[in-house]
Symmetry: C2
Subunit: 288 residues, 2 copies
């Protein structure tokens, strides 16, 4: 079991990981490639104290090298869900399940809250994880809306369980779908439903009736990643220790709110790491 699983890949994640290592904790970063960070594209950065006048790419590479040198591991993947198991958490990294005593969310700016109805029907027909929830739709009609190729494996898995699986790709090309998965075209507009849950998805002007909708997303709205996580508007709610509403779950960087700046992210990453290390130590003392 890991001491700390860090979800992210930007400055906050790297600073948190570096400082977990400094406290002798095992740590792994689960994130997308460095070049997907917004910082990577920055032409000039001159306000991170001590490193004047660099490109975002140079700075990220310096950050990454520093973390690796201290034993930080990095796994390039998408995280669809994190489950609380009481005194530890399970991270679903593309259907590999990783256990960790503490979680640090450094997931950056949440780009979207999804389409209308998506949050409303989360857990009532909307899901972000076929492996977790697929069995609930045995013999039923489901739809997979995918921002990336991960969705194909999800759809194929569902095709073995469900009566009918349709697939709405928001990317190109689609390469590995089973034959009994029907491919749709168009832009998802609205999740439809009633008191019992989801009844369909509006795609363009058309409505496709279904019992469940699985979204395979590039980035997840934080509150759907981790059940019970309190938000303040679109930011993850944190205290001065960077602790969230859930035990041993911390957040750092842009996902906690403005200013969206490197030094803030790096500082919060450090604080989150030290809080995580201290809280893990305390939990383990209490167990003895």
């Amino acid at each position: 079991m890991l001491d700390v699983a860090i979800i992210g890949g930007g400055p906050a994640a790297l600073s948190a990981a570096l400082n977990c290592r400094q406290r002798n904790k095992t740590v792994k970063i689960f994130g997308r490639s460095l070049d997907s960070s917004l910082l990577y594209a920055a032409e000039k950065v001159d306000n991170y104290l001590g490193i004047p006048n660099v490109t975002g790419e140079e700075l990220l590479n310096q950050f990454y090298a520093h973390a690796l040198k201290n034993g930080v591991e990095f796994q390039e993947c998408r995280i669809s869900q994190i489950l609380s198991m009481g005194d530890y958490y399970v991270v679903n990294a593309e259907n590999q399940f990783i256990e960790a005593k503490a979680i640090i969310l450094a997931i950056g700016l949440s780009k979207s809250r999804g389409i209308p109805g998506e949050m409303e029907y989360l857990g009532k027909g909307v899901s972000y994880c076929a492996t977790c929830d697929g069995m609930l739709y045995r013999g039923k009609k489901v739809l997979v809306v995918a921002e990336n190729g991960e969705g194909e494996a999800e759809a194929n898995f569902l095709a073995d369980i469900c009566q009918e699986v349709s697939y709405l790709p928001l990317y190109q090309p689609v390469t590995a779908l089973k034959e009994n998965v029907k491919v749709l075209e168009g832009k998802p507009v609205l999740v439809e439903g009633n008191e019992a849950g989801v009844t369909g998805l509006k795609v363009g002007e058309e409505i496709f009736g279904c019992d469940g909708i699985f979204f395979a997303k590039n980035s997840m709205p934080p509150e759907s990643l981790l059940f019970g996580l309190n938000m303040e508007g679109k930011n993850i709610a944190v205290d001065r220790r960077m602790a969230t509403s859930l035990p041993r779950v911390y957040a750092a960087g842009d996902c906690t709110g403005a200013p969206y700046q490197i030094a803030k992210a790096v500082g919060e990453g450090l604080v989150a790491a030290l809080s995580a290390a201290a809280d893990i130590d305390q939990m383990e003392r209490e167990k003895k």
Copy 2:
């Protein structure tokens, strides 16, 4: 008038100053020399992301050079008091009075809350500024307790006003006292007083009766630096914007609480600077 006066000299102050410059604000740091920072003595620092494995001295020099390159000015001095003038503040820098629209306190760990009775009788016989309060003791008996040579000028000034001035130096050597100032020896233990205010100072086992005691300190307890500043224990109370209880006064770094780490200080310095810049802009828009 300065846009922002920063009190400090460590990583939080330098990051705040750098980021004020980035927002095109005039800024000056009022602080002690770099080598008085606790960081200066650190043999090895390896957890400030991006700058692996340096000495504290190297890192501070890198920080300092980055700030200077961006037009940050630095004045080596001690600050004894900051006064609110409504829509601006006046900083007393060794009896030079500097006006600023906003203040960032990056004063590090408050080393002492003083001796017993010191805070209790603050403003009732205890003062940190002879220039400000000396006239209140015209014709009376006062004592100056000095951690540094600044105290000699204070004592000499008081010697022109007061009936009797005694001087208790906590440093060596004493070089420039007027002849009518009496030099004491020993360790200050306790401020004595009654409902009317200070009655004397206990030095070792002996009590010296007096009407007022002036302390010349290397670092000031924050709440005596700035009237009305709310504390949380020994930390300056701040919100997530690093705003204190006073308008356009911010705090950053060790003075806001643990962890006492560079990345936290640098991040908070940035946040304080951006908050100050935004609040100054808003105040000026409202004036129009």
